[in-house]
């Protein structure tokens, strides 16, 4: 029930914010979704959808940034591996 699925907004319909809807593509399955809570959503954006409503626009910048943080860990690992090699 807390599950939200990511999808890409293909088209938007409606002017009235509470009833504004979008056709959202979930990897080949298309569903009409309420965009009432994401007035900033535009075609091409990715949204998270829960029970027929988009609850947020996915921040691609942030998605990339966290991956960068992971690379910092990888760097640590690589460093350790090198020093392990040096010892053996």
């Amino acid at each position: 029930m807390c599950l939200a699925v990511p999808g890409r907004v293909i088209a938007i319909a409606g002017e009235d914010p509470p009833t504004r809807t979008g056709r959202v593509d979930f990897g080949g399955v298309i569903k009409e979704i309420s965009l009432a809570f994401v007035p900033e959503a535009r075609p091409g954006d990715h949204v998270l959808v829960h029970v027929g409503f988009a609850i947020t626009v996915i921040d691609e910048e942030e998605a990339r940034r966290v991956r960068g943080w992971l690379e910092e860990i990888e760097g640590m690992e690589a460093g350790e591996a090198e020093s392990d090699d040096a010892l053996s």
């Binding site: 599950l3 699925v5 979930f26 990897g27 080949g28 399955v29 298309i30 569903k31 009409e32």
Partner: protein, 350 residues
């Protein structure tokens, strides 16, 4: 009444063909004769049916396989197919799973009063096309009509007879530890196609049913002398149920590599959205083959010559111990049990 069009309420002309099936058409009298002569027999077009006798007399010349299936799928028509195609392929495939070459089918129809004749025509044309593609004859049948509100448009039963082609008895009893498990193609398309066509779920998808005969690749395996131990088509309950049933019947453990099971992206997406597991969704043009490991390469080579099994792949193996269990190896290297679905999520799917 599902099945598409609502019945016409125009006053039907007594002599001309009705736009909808009338209750009288099931009565064994003139109205039924008219439906048989004007619609059903011409579309099915078989000399045995034209003989209009109580039953067909055959000489199969050897051991036979015999199977029956009843189809109550809702809606009647879905992307890529309909109940007619399903009824023929389903039973033909069951015969193939026994290691038999399908010969003849019977066709039992229960029609709902008010079913548009156009829908009946479409279903029967589908039956004929599917049967011809397999080289299968519809040689006998039955027709009943029930009152409006029953039968949801149309129910179909097909019963099939096939000539046994395998030298050894094919079934779970022949499954051995060390056997490989081959899956003929991607799973879940039929389930998603039917769900997408149901009103109220409100999603569009390009997924069409995978409903198709698998007779040719199966017979090719048998012809080539591949020692097939067991065959099973994953219909209701999906891949999971098929594997669990075999594991339990054969008292073996089956290990499946999750990443090896082919699932189309759109099927995966629909499953995420609706909360289904692709391994629980029915397929109507896929099969599992259990055979000795040394035979695997040869079997794959044969299967991949046919369009319906072009993506055949080894998905797992049979092991000693922990009988009756199916385990899934996840992409992270964990093992988790695979069980049948509870059964109520997907009513009227086949």
């Amino acid at each position: 009444m599902s099945g598409g069009e609502s019945p016409s309420w125009n006053c039907p002309l007594p002599e001309a063909e009705s736009e909808v099936v009338r209750l009288a058409a099931g009565g064994g009298g003139r109205a039924m004769q008219r439906l048989l002569e004007e619609v059903i027999r011409p579309l099915l077009d078989d000399p045995e049916l034209a003989r209009a006798h109580d039953g067909a007399v055959l000489d199969p010349g050897g051991e036979i396989a015999f199977t029956t299936d009843t189809f109550v799928v809702r809606p009647l028509v879905f992307p890529g197919g309909d109940i007619g195609a399903l009824a023929v392929c389903g039973t033909a495939n069951d015969l193939a799973m026994c290691g038999a070459e399908p010969l003849v089918l019977s066709l039992g129809l229960v029609l709902e009063e008010g079913l548009p004749v156009a829908v009946l025509r479409r279903v029967l044309a589908s039956v004929k096309t599917s049967a011809e593609a397999i080289g299968l004859r519809i040689v006998t049948g039955d027709l009943k009509v029930v009152e409006r509100g029953r039968a949801d448009g149309l129910y179909v039963n097909t019963t099939g007879i096939g000539r046994l082609r395998s030298r050894h008895r094919i079934g779970p009893a022949a499954v051995r530890p060390g056997d490989v498990v081959i899956l003929s193609g991607d799973v879940g398309r039929h389930g998603i196609a039917v769900l997408a066509a149901r009103e109220g779920l409100g999603f569009e998808t390009m997924v069409a049913t995978d409903c198709a005969p698998v007779v040719a690749p199966v017979l090719a395996l048998l012809e080539a002398g591949v020692a097939v131990h067991c065959l099973r088509d994953p219909t209701r309950g999906g891949l999971a149920s098929a594997l669990v049933e075999i594991a339990e019947a054969a008292s073996v453990r089956i290990l499946v590599e999750e990443a090896a099971v082919p699932v189309r992206e759109e099927v995966r997406a629909a499953c995420e959205l609706l909360g289904f597991d692709p391994l629980h969704l029915p397929c109507e043009g896929r099969f599992l083959a259990f055979l000795a490991a040394p035979e695997a390469e040869r079997a794959l080579g044969i299967l991949r010559n046919f369009a319906v099994s072009r993506e055949a792949v080894v998905i797992g193996r049979v092991e000693e111990g922990a009988s009756g269990r199916v385990l899934l190896e996840t992409p992270f290297g964990q093992e988790r049990p695979l069980d049948m679905p509870s059964g109520e999520q997907l009513p009227r799917i086949c």
